[in-house]
């Protein structure tokens, strides 16, 4: 069931909603950070954070509290909090709304997070194009600093905290956490081999925690409500997927937008109840559930959990549109939850043209460090282009499968899989349409991505 909430979005529509006075008046501004820093030890904060079951909002869904616990016992070197606001995954448009409309939630979350992981300095890495976001964050930081919430003695405590906005320079790959760290250090944004993980060797060679911007922004809410209570707001609390989060809708829906909801709405609720249905009242054709790297779904797909002992068994065989969206439920449906921003494709969309668009994206954005990804991204792009141009063969369709298969698991960073999985998804779910191009039954002259 849809459970709209307004913990982050309560100030979204207000005049000057991004300023400190509004945040204090309408969103319990900094009361939680004050309480946490003046009454709890860092160990207690981490223990409490685990109970919130906040699965990372950046796409991979790693539990935030557990990530924080990797920073304890407290290291001897300086530690850093790194906030990932590179928001570049195609179809993702949620972090930007928080930065523009509720930047203080981020600052407050960072104060709690920095204290918990033992960091005196935090960097918020924002992609360069988001100029308004950067300005709003800088304003919020200045306001918080003027009040003494940031600086040498936040809320009178002895744990100094400084927060800085750092700008990217145009590279999707810098959203990958180790690439981001290299970029922050002033290097080319090439991902690093893991291990070591950022908690061991992160920014400037020191232990670091990298969290998505929305992950940090929801922290004050979790601590205000009590982390366990917060987790229980979710329909998937028993799957350790807790709380509330932002859901985005884009593509062929009547009302695109961003909504805050308790975790666990279904795709049907999002698309039809919140999105007003498919554009032009067309049939739903396909869904990309959480950013372009999450494999495409057809409305006929189902969740698979045949084992009666599985916590997901209750949904076994159920239509993917009617399964609560969560990290584990989407995995069992042959895709991934990703960033919770849903791209809707209406009947009439050409899936080969859609696939080509995405393969062009990955080809452009591969950092080129590993051969399978560098070469594979080019091959995928060129092969789909060839098929789309009407010059393809049936072997080319199989080649797509093979190229993507060779990338999977053979690269330094998850970009490779993030390109190969959707490629495999398109080939599997739209083989008929690819074949129609090869046979000459479909021609690119008639292909459309728009449907009005």
């Amino acid at each position: 069931m849809l459970k709209p909430t307004e913990y982050l979005t309560c100030v979204y529509g207000l005049p000057s909603g991004h300023t400190l006075p509004v945040y204090e008046k309408h969103a319990y501004g900094y009361e939680t950070a004050r309480r946490v820093l003046t009454t709890m030890t860092a160990e207690q904060v981490v223990a409490e954070a685990k109970k919130a079951n906040i699965r990372g909002r950046g796409g991979a869904g790693f539990p935030m509290g557990i990530k924080w616990s990797f920073m304890r016992p407290h290291p001897t070197k300086p530690a850093y909090l790194i906030v990932n606001a590179d928001e570049g995954e195609p179809g993702t448009h949620k972090d930007r709304t928080i930065m523009e409309r509720n930047p203080h939630s981020i600052v407050e979350g960072c104060i709690i997070g920095a204290y918990a992981i033992g960091a005196h300095v935090g960097y918020i890495y924002v992609r360069d194009e988001l100029h308004l976001s950067k300005a709003r964050l800088n304003e919020a930081i200045a306001e918080a600093r003027a009040k003494g919430y940031l600086g040498p003695k936040p809320f009178g405590s002895s744990w100094s905290i400084e927060l800085y906005v750092h700008s990217g320079a145009g590279a999707y790959i810098c959203g990958e956490e180790t690439s981001l760290l290299n970029s922050l250090e002033g290097k080319r944004g090439e991902p690093r081999l893991k291990p070591p993980f950022p908690a061991q060797v992160g920014a400037f060679g020191c232990p670091s925690t990298v969290n998505n911007l929305e992950t940090m922004a929801i922290v004050p809410t979790a601590f205000r409500l009590g982390c366990e209570e917060f987790s229980k707001l979710s329909a998937l609390h028993n799957l350790d997927d807790g709380g509330v989060r932002l859901y985005g809708l884009n593509g062929h829906v009547k009302k695109p937008g961003v909504h805050e909801l308790a975790v666990g709405p279904t795709l049907r609720e999002l698309i039809y109840d919140l999105g007003g249905g498919v554009l032009g009242d067309r049939e739903l054709f396909a869904i990309i559930p959480g950013g372009s790297s999450t494999p495409v779904l057809r409305p006929t797909d189902t969740l698979s959990a045949p084992d009666p002992g599985s916590k997901l068994h209750a949904w076994h065989g159920k239509c993917v549109l009617d399964v609560p969206l969560g990290v584990d439920t989407m995995r069992a449906s042959g895709t991934m939850l990703g960033t919770c921003c849903v791209t809707v494709l209406a009947q009439g969309t050409d899936p080969v043209m859609a696939m080509l668009n995405l393969m062009q994206f990955y080809h452009h954005e591969s950092c080129g460090q590993c051969t399978p990804c560098r070469e594979g991204s080019g091959w995928l792009d060129r092969t789909v282009q060839k098929i789309f141009d009407g010059r393809g063969t049936m072997q080319d369709i199989d080649a797509l499968h093979e190229i993507a298969g060779n990338v999977m698991g053979n690269t330094i960073c998850a970009f490779g899989d993030g390109m190969a999985m959707p490629a495999l998804g398109f080939v599997k779910k739209f083989r008929k349409e690819l074949e129609a191009y090869v046979r000459g039954d479909t021609k690119k002259e008639n292909a459309r991505l728009t449907v009005t």
């Binding site: 995954e89 179809g91 972090d95 750092h166 002033g186 884009n250 859609a354 668009n357 954005e365």
Partner: protein, 159 residues
Amino acid sequence: MPFALTPERERTFQELLTRYPTKMALTIPLLQLCQEQHGWISEEVMLFVAERLDLSAAHVKGVVTFYTLFNQHPVGKHQVWVCKTLPCALRGAYDVLHQCEKKLGIKAGETTSNGQITLRTAECLASCATAPMMQVDKEYFEDLTPERVDEILRRLQES
């Protein structure tokens, strides 16, 4: 003449230096300050950055060539980016791009002959729910219609 920052940007640079444990971390921020001033990253700019940060010129060049937003050649006074990634394309981004190309008389990647406007395509700019969209210099224009695109370009051409 060797490149130098304006006094105001020099102050910004000095303030930024206090934020990081290494000078190298200033590579991108300093390059951005320079590009803001100079419009693009010339050899002189790279040498300036290398010298100010005690880095090799090769390091600076490696960074410049990695990121798409560093201009390695002079560009127009105004930058127009049309987002062409799937969510925008589902809402008409290709039409927006064609309209811009037609109206400006150039292809994506080119600059108008008077040096005023460079047209480029962009990958997803986190604005997919208000697609189609384009960025002009530092500003986003969202929920575009053909009329608005015309209007935006007309104002830009007149500016």
